[in-house]
Amino acid sequence: MPDRRAANRAMFWRIIRRLFGANPGRLFVMLLALGAGAAVTAALLNLQVDAKRRLTTEFRAFGPNVLIIPKGSSGANSETLPESTIHLVPVNLPSGRVTVSSTLYMIANVFVPQSGKSLAAVVAGTNPLAFLRISVLSSSTSEANLNGPAPSMGQVCVAGARVAKQLGFQQNTELVLASGDRHESCRVASFHQTGGPEDDRVAIGLRAAQRLANLPNRISAIELIVPGTPGEIQSYIADLQRRLPDVDVRPIRQFTEGEAKIYNRISGLLTATVAIVLLLTGLCVMAAMTNVAMERKMDVSLMKAIGGSMRRVLRLFLAEAALLGLAGGVIGAAAGIFLSIGLGKAVFGVAARPRLIVYPVAVALTVIVAILSAFPLRRLASIRPASVFRGEA
């Protein structure tokens, strides 16, 4: 008895091998269709997961989206916060790191010793000064080494384009900032041209501004760039307000709301496109496979003629389809890894991090599609072998 079963099994596999070996052209076509489907599925699923996460990082391009200011501060009064507040801000989120900068604003007299011109301007003491580069996209300015010699020593400053225009100074000019009887000097490292209020300000290191304003360890505001989806940012703000009851934590609504709307649109678009593409990729593969399955009439008739029961014949073909699906799926998923790396690089400049869960899903989907597309073979159950062999059907 076990012998017969073993012989049966051996025969089963032998037939399967022959089915694959008999027509390499057909095999190639089927593997191509299945593999292409699996590759696209894997790449799109991967991109879909990755792109949404990346999009939230892209929104950082808009700069700070959360502001911490003294409670009740309405702008008109010049209240300040202790600088230590900054240490209470949680910076590690699951969605990435929060970028924090603190600023002290004051009005000072800006004097250019070279030309003797002077003018009152807003001086922003910023820590870290290099933050300016990410918070404002100053593409039209010369890229200066803001990380250079200890920026917070008050050695360098970044001048707004309009300040520079009014005072007529160039890069590397020495500026003297004076407030009351205190003064600080700095060298202009670069210019800002942002179209925002930064154009009218001179930015220097926080320490220098604090010395100038005689407000040691005080700051006017903390600006945060919080990464994450709109929901994550909202809950971060609520959490921060709970942690810091003595200050006002405000979303910069212009950006938080705009971002939320755009994020929803884009992610909806992405989901819809990916869903449609996946669905129709599956259908296309199925159509291609079904076409191939239909030509198996002869094989089925022969098997039936020599006494194969329909159940066993069907099992044979389903096994073949599943194996093909598996092979095509694995090949396709492997190709999908490269495809998604390429896509990620092309779109975001960074390779999409492969999500391992995506690949088994893609392979499983391919196997299911392959088995489903073998189902029209059931129609062959009604075939009468004799008429097939006579060439009638």
Partner: protein, 449 residues
């Protein structure tokens, strides 16, 4: 005879043809949907990005530096320059007038505010309630437009205002109506002073003087404004009222312009002064934010037009990325559809070996056979492509309406691309098996070997 064979082939094996055709139609359907959405998405998203507010800022060239901290300007009251309001309709006459979707002039000043709060009103106290009587720090007032109807030189009118340029400004209640003595109060200020919708405020000019309530203009509070910014502490008035209060009739100091733009590339960032005539023409005929700024500057003398980089560049960057993402997804869909269609047409050629053998045995040349099969496949491609296009348009409509509320318009370009693609893919898919078929020896095939 040729047509008869083709017709016969379709009639005899309708199921096979149907399956191949279905694969084609489905594949082309995805490509159509993806293409239509991708073509449309740039414009739609550009509109969405206008929700971030103005991307251009116009200020007087001769203006002094604003000494602004947290929204409060510390400049002496009379310093600075102003621009004439009468020039504003010209904005809708520039070359890019269709891209300018909103603008709002701003005139800021400070005023002493007297609050008349009926809710705490006792008859004996119906005198003036003076805000901060000891040291009255004047409250900022902002004169601007809201739902302002502007008549244009060509006779049409254009509705614009700060509610369009800064859509995140939320008004609880309603915006003021222009021409009436109404105003909107920032929510922080309202909370501090206990103002409610329906109350009246009396505004005195910024210069200290004897305040007689009866002599002051009175404004009805129609709404409370929440912006998350310095405007929460201000009173927003119609522009003409603010001009009257600050004695600057017909003037404004700042203009927000919200324009639909094309993301900037390296070419856009070049200085127009360094371009030659051809380049300059190309530059000024692309809706780059910088070229729109340039043409606004041409028609507003004495104005300095600045690009709000934070918005313009962030927008450009994200828009470029998303557009590229969609093109790639479209490309992937195209690839998958092409492969599946190619595979199915290859299969349909392979299975017809016997037929090919018979035709060759009867004396048909390889060329004739190939031509016959290709004609069949092409016919299938046109039908499948057409059905796929219709299918794809429906899909694109569904997606567009779901996401943007507007369906993309069907375009003829997409149709021709789809038909060409369907033909190309089927011919390519059958080319390889056809090539092999052309070398078949009829005898072994007919013998069944």
């Amino acid at each position: 005879m040729f047509l008869r064979i083709v017709a016969d082939s379709f009639g005899r094996r309708p199921r096979h043809k149907l399956l191949t055709g279905a694969a084609l139609a489905l594949g082309m359907g995805v490509v159509t949907a993806a293409l239509s959405v991708s073509l449309d998405v740039g414009d739609r998203l550009a509109k969405e990005f206008r929700g971030l507010g103005a991307n251009l800022l116009v200020t007087p060239q001769a203006d002094s530096l604003p000494l602004e901290i947290g929204g409060a300007d510390y400049r002496p009251v009379n310093a600075g320059a102003y621009l004439p309001e009468a020039d504003l309709p010209k904005l809708k006459t520039i070359f890019w007038h269709n891209n300018i979707i909103a603008f709002a002039p701003i005139l800021e000043d400070r005023a002493t505010v007297l609050v008349d709060v009926p809710s705490v009103d006792l008859n004996s106290l119906r005198s003036n309630v003076i805000l901060h009587p000891a040291e009255p720090p004047p409250v900022s007032i902002i004169g601007t437009w809201a739902q302002h109807k502007l008549s244009l030189p060509d006779g049409s009118s254009f509705v614009t205002g700060v509610d369009r340029t800064n859509p995140w400004w939320q008004v609880q209640g309603r915006w003021f109506s222009e021409g009436l003595s109404e105003c909107v109060v920032g929510q922080a200020l309202a909370r501090r002073t206990g103002l409610h919708i329906g109350d009246h405020v009396y505004l005195g000019g910024s210069e200290p003087r004897v305040l007689l309530q009866s002599s002051l203009p009175q404004f009805l509070v129609t709404g409370l404004l929440a912006t998350g910014g310095a405007e929460d502490d201000a009173i927003i008035l119609p522009l003409d009222a603010a001009q009257h209060l600050s004695k600057r009739p017909g003037q404004y100091r700042k203009l927000y312009v919200s324009a639909l733009t094309k993301p900037e590339d390296d070419f856009a960032r070049r200085d127009p002064k360094t371009m030659n005539a051809g380049e300059f023409e190309r530059w000024s005929c692309s809706p780059y934010v910088s070229s729109i700024a340039y043409s606004i500057k041409q028609i507003l003398p004495g104005a300095d037009v600045r690009v709000v980089r934070r918005i313009a560049e962030g927008e450009g960057q994200i828009l470029t990325r998303v557009r590229m993402l969609l093109w790639l997804v479209t490309g992937a869909a195209l690839l998958a559809a092409a492969l599946a269609v190619g595979a199915s047409s290859a299969a349909s050629v392979i299975e017809r070996r016997t037929e090919i053998g018979l035709m060759k045995a009867l004396g048909a040349g390889s060329g004739t056979v190939g031509f016959l099969l290709a004609a069949e496949q092409l016919l299938l491609a046109f039908v499948g492509g057409g059905v796929g296009y219709a299918l794809g348009i429906v899909l694109a409509r569904l997606v567009g309406e779901k996401i943007f509320g507007v369906a993309p318009a069907p375009s003829l370009i997409v149709f021709s691309v789809i038909i060409a693609l369907a033909a190309g893919v089927t011919v390519l898919g059958s080319a390889f098996p056809l090539h092999r078929a052309s070398r078949y020896e009829p005898a072994p095939i007919l013998r069944g070997e």
